[in-house]
């Protein structure tokens, strides 16, 4: 059992000296600094984010997605076949992403995340996992002006990202995480939820990948649509806060599948109670009859102010320590 995070980490904080990235992006946009100077700041902030996660007690970190504008643009803008359009609300949150538009054959061109991963690993003292937004989520959140067929778009994305996973695999990460909030049932859901297409894309995405993989589904429940025994991954991460019915999936958990247990609310500032979290962790562990549990916040941490995010990580790590005893 370990304490981990899901995806992003706040890029800036409210204290003096915590706004470097915001200032650097503004200066870059005004033409006052060059691209390399911006990258230097992004790296410095990434290093700091990793250090903070580690100091909070997180045992498997991400790079905090400090360089990502949003979970969609960072990937799609580096694939062939996409233009990036206007702002759209990210699920039922009060944050926005730029919507990709498929305008040509979607194809992988060059590594998207490898350099970021190598850097993150070089500054971390604990394990680092690369995170890729999955083909189904990218597909349903895009406008399709080329294929005019969701199946074709999602499968083309899966094939393109398969190439990215292969490149990431060469770096021998402990695990590669695939994020698919798009298949969760969420109160704002307005896109197709198609289990058949989702699984088909996942098969294609993970084909010939010789590396451990995890699949994270958050912002809602997947219990109505997911057959856990069919998944070609080592760990399935679930949002137990905004998808309480996910507990049903734990009742018939397949042998050999690890659990990503998202139990700290990353969408609200209200602080959880350590005893209660520790009890919940133990219950989940008993249900799945396995020690392969990655305890985490319910989703990425950018929905919270940084000081709150950090407090929640400390609380999470403490709960894991207590559950181990």
């Amino acid at each position: 059992m370990i304490a981990t995070v899901v995806s992003h980490y706040p890029k800036i904080g409210d204290h003096p000296g915590e706004q470097k990235l915001r200032q650097a992006i503004a200066k870059f946009e005004m033409g006052e600094i060059d691209y390399q100077a911006l990258v230097d700041v992004e790296r410095e902030v990434t290093k700091q984010a990793i250090r903070e996660m580690e100091e909070a007690g997180i045992e498997l970190v991400t790079d905090g997605q400090i360089r990502w504008q949003d979970p969609v643009t960072y990937i799609c803008s580096k694939l062939n076949g996409f233009e990036i359009n206007g702002l759209v609300r990210w699920f039922d949150s009060n944050t926005y992403f730029r919507q990709p538009v498929a305008v040509g054959d979607v194809a992988w061109v060059e590594p998207i995340l490898v350099e970021d991963y190598i850097y993150a690993r070089s500054v971390a003292t604990v394990d680092v996992k690369p995170v890729v937004t999955g083909p189904y989520t990218l597909g349903v959140l895009s406008i399709d002006r080329y294929y005019n067929d969701l199946d074709k778009l999602v499968l083309a994305l899966a094939a393109a990202l398969n190439a990215e996973l292969k490149e990431l695999c060469k770096q021998k990460p402990p695990i590669i995480q695939i994020d698919e909030p798009g298949i969760a049932f969420n109160p704002s859901v307005r896109y197709p939820r198609d289990a058949r297409l989702f699984l088909q894309a996942l098969e294609l995405l993970t084909k010939d990948i010789d590396c451990d993989l995890s699949l994270y589904i958050y912002h809602g429940s997947a219990s109505d649509i997911l057959q856990t025994e069919q998944l070609p991954v080592k760990i399935l991460g679930l949002d137990m806060v905004h998808g309480a019915s996910n507990w049903q999936l734990l009742e018939n958990w397949p042998d050999g599948l690890g659990l990503g247990l998202g139990i700290v609310d990353a969408r609200n500032v209200k602080m959880e109670n350590v005893e209660h979290l520790a009890t919940t962790i133990k219950q989940a562990k008993e249900l799945i009859r396995s020690d392969e549990v990655h305890v985490s916040p319910s989703c990425g941490l950018e929905f919270l102010p940084k000081d709150v995010a950090l407090s929640k990580l400390r609380l999470l790590a403490e709960s894991v320590r207590e559950a181990r005893e």
Partner: protein, 331 residues
Amino acid sequence: MTRQVEFPLPTTSVGSFPKPDYLISARNRYARGQISKSELDELSKRATAEWISFQESIGMDLLVDGEMYRGDMVAYFAENLEGMTLSGLIRSYGNRYYKKPIAIGPIRRTKPITVEWWSYAQSLTDRPVKGMLTGPYTMCDWSFDDYYGNRRDFVLALAEVIAREARDLEAAGAEYIQIDEPAVSTRLDELDLVIEAMGIVTSGLKAHTITHMCYGRFEEVYPKILELPVDQIDLEMANSGLDLLEKFKEYPFTKYIGFGVIDVHSHRIETVEEVKARIKTALKYIDTDKIFVDPDCGLKTRTVAEAKAKLQVMQIARNQVRDEILALKTS
């Protein structure tokens, strides 16, 4: 004194206008403690007076104060309510950050929040000025909750305080009160709660009540949204909406409508002909005497020059269509 608009096709705005440069820089100076609240208020008043005068000068019918004294539409109310505070910075997109309200205790209104500003704006003109409030559902949806523990209790507590504000606006003389609910379209499963909360706000009001929504797929909530207890629903129609209009054939739109004819997200200034065509589309589906003409949403994200140009085009288009209607009536 009653101030009522004249039909057909009175023009209005959704609420916010861009702040002039001197006010933006004054707000920054105020945030850094370099000028006093009263100095900032003077400049907010000056900007309000300029916008009132502009709306009058082009012939608009139902005016707004442009919200020169407000930052964010939710944070402004949160800052003025007991039981709410603001969080640290959170990224909304790109390099944009905001402070999100948090409920930290029982929410109470200790004094009127917008009445003084409304009275000031109304004192500058003989035309009616709308009272502008943010709805309880949107206030909840765009805030953290560290106190109530469930959305229903949080929304209904907010409804009580917004209701008091609406009553005070009416007592001060407001004959049009708008309660914005842009978050309505986020979670379709909570529409009943939105309707219940709006009922608390508008119950007993004699003023003409309006609600504005945006970024929605209204065809999914229509005709259910007609159950909202308001006199008028304001919809953005410049970008989309034709599917919705087709639905009006099956389920007639029974309220007054604020029909959005100006795209607020685009820098491009519409042509008079484009806007006339949009107004004429409205006339095909809705009673002439039920239509208010307005932009899709608040104009605060445009520059002052763009906002003025867009409003001017809207007014000219309205004037031409209205002349055609009146000529038909007299011929």
